[in-house]
Amino acid sequence: MSKHACELNFLSRSDGSALYSIGNTVALASVNGPGEVKKFNRLYNRAYLEVSYSPSTGQSMIGERALESVITRTVEQVILVHLHPRTAVNVTIQEMQSDGLELSTSVNAACLSLLDAGVQMKSTFAAVTCCLTPSSTILIEPTAAEMKESVAVATFVLDGQALNVLSAHQEGCLNAENFNACLKACQTAAKDVFNFYRQALEKKYHTCNEIS
């Protein structure tokens, strides 16, 4: 598994932010909300969730919109949206450096920035990417070069309580047996990711305690 690193509260003007990196892929997520919502988006019984993803170069195109919709649908399941009707929660993700793991880095950054902002959620969530090489080995968190050589790439977003699948994104050809093997491998790896989240937040609250 690649090395995870994170810095919380990176941006002073956002309610919560996290600079997250998996290996050489780095993403910065920022959360603002629950707050004002445009009349157009106002929902009478829940908060409106908006996710926007910007690549490091060039214009935002279809690929980015697809990523946004995957992240929105995942995060919507977890945030307690019914607690804040007629408000909006904005999650903005900026790709800082890319080595193939954009989806999982962005999702993990989003989770930590929501925790940093204090938005109420049912559980934490973590994304783990794995790929199946032609020799049928499963590699967790591969580099872009390893992904290019692989037969299939799968990303699972798992919840923190029971490691259930919140969303799955898969490209390539996987038979049922390999799919389940990938899922099991990702679930095992996810436990390490949740431990990492815990450490990151303990560090944040530890320094807060020291100041007070």
């Binding site: 990176f10 941006l11 002073s12 003007r13 956002s14 932010s17 050489n24 780095v26 910065l28 920022s30 603002n32 707050g35 926007s52 910007s54 490091s56 170069t57 060039g58 935002s60 904005n90 903005t92 900026q94 800082m96 450096q97 080595d99």
Partner: protein, 224 residues
């Protein structure tokens, strides 16, 4: 607002800096060439430089091209919206174009591969991540640092005119050469009790109190 003014009257700034003191600056470079994140106090700006080989402008067949674009990310400040252009973006874009393009600090002729056919086009994407004042200086710093960090892939031109672009592993990439380095300094002017005070590197609260401020761009050989 009034507390900022009363602090100035007393000869201080609300964040305990001297009038002409700049906040701490740190530069972080990414793994890829041409990526730089600048932290100026709490203001954070990311600049990413990429290059591709394109056809040159017909009026300038042996000069490369450089394009700069500024994005204000919605994370920079709660009232920013992605996609909509606004005055601040135009202002920042103008500052960067003046400093980098019009000052001719980059030797565009060195970006030529084959006259009239292929030249390098460098694209600088500047994204404002956190707005805590003085975006002009931060964007300038980020773009210049990213340009100096950027290395372009080596190319060979065959006899029949074909251009081969080598990967970074095959051949050492070439650094960008800057003839002069543009430095941007922003000041805020406060008129208090008929006296004019000049503050350097205004923070966001100070910027909101004063109107548009002038900035001076200077390079080693001449001023612009």
């Amino acid at each position: 607002k009034t507390s900022i003014v009363s602090a100035i009257r007393a000869g201080q700034r609300y964040d305990n800096r001297e009038f002409l003191e700049v906040r701490d600056i740190s530069l972080n470079f990414g793994k890829d060439y041409g990526s730089c994140t600048v932290t100026l106090g709490q203001t954070r700006v990311l600049a990413q430089v990429t290059g591709e080989v394109v056809e040159p402008r017909p009026s300038r067949p042996n000069e490369g091209k450089i394009s700069i674009s500024v994005h204000l990310s919605p994370m920079a400040a709660p009232h920013f919206e992605s996609g909509r252009s606004n005055d601040l973006v135009d202002e920042l874009q103008q500052i960067l174009e003046r400093n980098i393009k019009e000052s001719r600090c980059l030797d565009l002729e060195s970006l030529c591969v084959l006259a009239e056919e292929s030249v390098w086009q460098l694209r600088v994407d500047v994204t404002v991540l956190n707005h805590a004042g003085n975006l002009g200086d931060a964007c300038n710093l980020a773009s210049v640092a990213a340009l100096r960090h950027f290395h372009r892939p080596d190319v060979t031109v065959e006899e029949d005119g074909r251009v081969t672009i080598h990967t970074l592993e095959e051949r050492e990439p070439i650094p960008t050469f800057m003839k002069k380095v543009p430095v941007c300094l922003t000041y805020a002017f406060f008129v208090v009790d008929d006296k004019c005070y000049m503050l350097m590197d205004p923070s966001e609260k100070e910027e909101r109190r004063t109107g548009p401020q002038p900035n001076v761009s200077h390079s080693q050989h001449d001023s612009a």
